[in-house]
Amino acid sequence: MISQRDKVEKLRQLDSEVELRRAQYQKTAARAGDLQIEASVAETGMTPLGVVVTPNTPTFPNKPLVLGGSLGLGFGFGLGLALLIELLNRRVRGVEDLEGSLDVPCLAVINGERQSIWAALAKPFRPARRSKVVPA
């Protein structure tokens, strides 16, 4: 036993070193486990604002929206204005307007020319017929 005292002493040293290494390992493993847990947490309280890449088209003004909206609003406004003017200043559009509002009959309707509906629609865009005195 005495002769192996050196060996025993060395064994004790080795055991203590093993204990020390084990303690260090466990401590390191615990620390690594804590860091791994922290690293795996995604909720950091931050929200992604968008794609990092800048878009090529401008976000304002929205030309289709502006053009479409303008046309729609203009059409609606014009239609309403036309209806308002027609209601305030009602013009004679047919025999019904004359006979409906007056107590006298409409004796004749003079229509200048027999024409198709397309010709009638295009009439306002044609120049007025000239009235010219010609020899008999």
């Binding site: 004359l98 006298v104 409409c106 004749a108 020899p135």
Partner: protein, 237 residues
């Protein structure tokens, strides 16, 4: 499908509306005188329908005159008056067409004959001269015309004289039918005065232009002046 109408079977212009006036070189007519220039057209047909109504409901009842009134300038009052007078003359009715528009005479722009007669203006200013001296007789067969003459600044005063009533009475005695064209009612009260003297009125409205309110106002004014509004004419041309 209906068979095509043969053009040869359609009535000729001379059959519908003989126009011996075309033989007269001194008469000038506007193409708007559709009763002569386009007797087969829809406008002439409408004028003939109006003539039929006037003849049956008006002349045969002893009413021998009618004043044509329009609200605004360009509504076709002169056009209807001239064509109605020509249409009446074409069926043998001794017709007199009077241009009582002393503001802006228009009959002479539609139907004109070179003459030195003074017209209605001179007739009203010369109380002693006989009315027949100012009437251009037989401009067309059965159609005489009393032109307005030159425009008068005092048209309302001229028409308000008793002389105008004498002139109208003379015309009513001498002619079977007297058609009177009047100035637009929104520019002066001449139309009301003429309608009051003539006694019967026909209101001309133009499609898409005449206001319903204006027509109602005019009819109310004419009826208030004791003129009988026999009807309206809608001018779509």
């Amino acid at each position: 499908m209906s068979p095509p109408v043969s053009v040869a079977k359609r009535p000729t212009l001379e059959q519908i509306a003989p126009t011996p006036a075309r033989l007269s070189e001194s008469v000038e007519m506007s193409p708007s005188l559709v009763s002569v220039y386009d007797p087969l057209g829809p406008s002439a047909e409408a004028i003939r329908a109006l003539r039929t109504h006037i003849q049956s409901q008006h002349l045969q009842e002893g009413r021998r005159a009618v004043a044509l009134c329009g609200v605004s300038r360009g509504h076709g009052c002169t056009f209807v008056a001239a064509n109605l007078a020509v249409a009446l003359s074409q069926i043998g009715v001794a017709t007199l067409l009077i241009d009582a528009n002393l503001r802006e005479p228009g009959i002479d722009k539609i139907l004109r004959r070179q003459s030195t007669l003074g017209g209605l203006r001179a007739c009203l200013m010369n109380s002693d001269a006989p009315v027949s001296d100012f009437i251009d007789e037989d401009v067309l067969p059965n159609l005489s015309v009393l032109y307005a003459g030159a425009a008068a600044q005092n048209a309302q005063e001229l028409l308000a004289r008793d002389r105008f009533e004498d002139v109208m009475n003379t015309c009513l005695r001498n002619f079977d039918a007297t058609i009177v064209d009047t100035p637009p009612a929104n520019a002066s009260a001449d139309a009301r005065r003429v309608s009051n003297v003539v006694g019967y009125s026909l209101v001309v409205a133009r499609k898409h232009q005449s206001l319903v309110g204006d027509i109602k106002t005019l009819v109310g004014q004419l009826q208030g002046d004791r003129a009988v509004v026999i009807g309206t004419v809608l001018n779509e041309s």
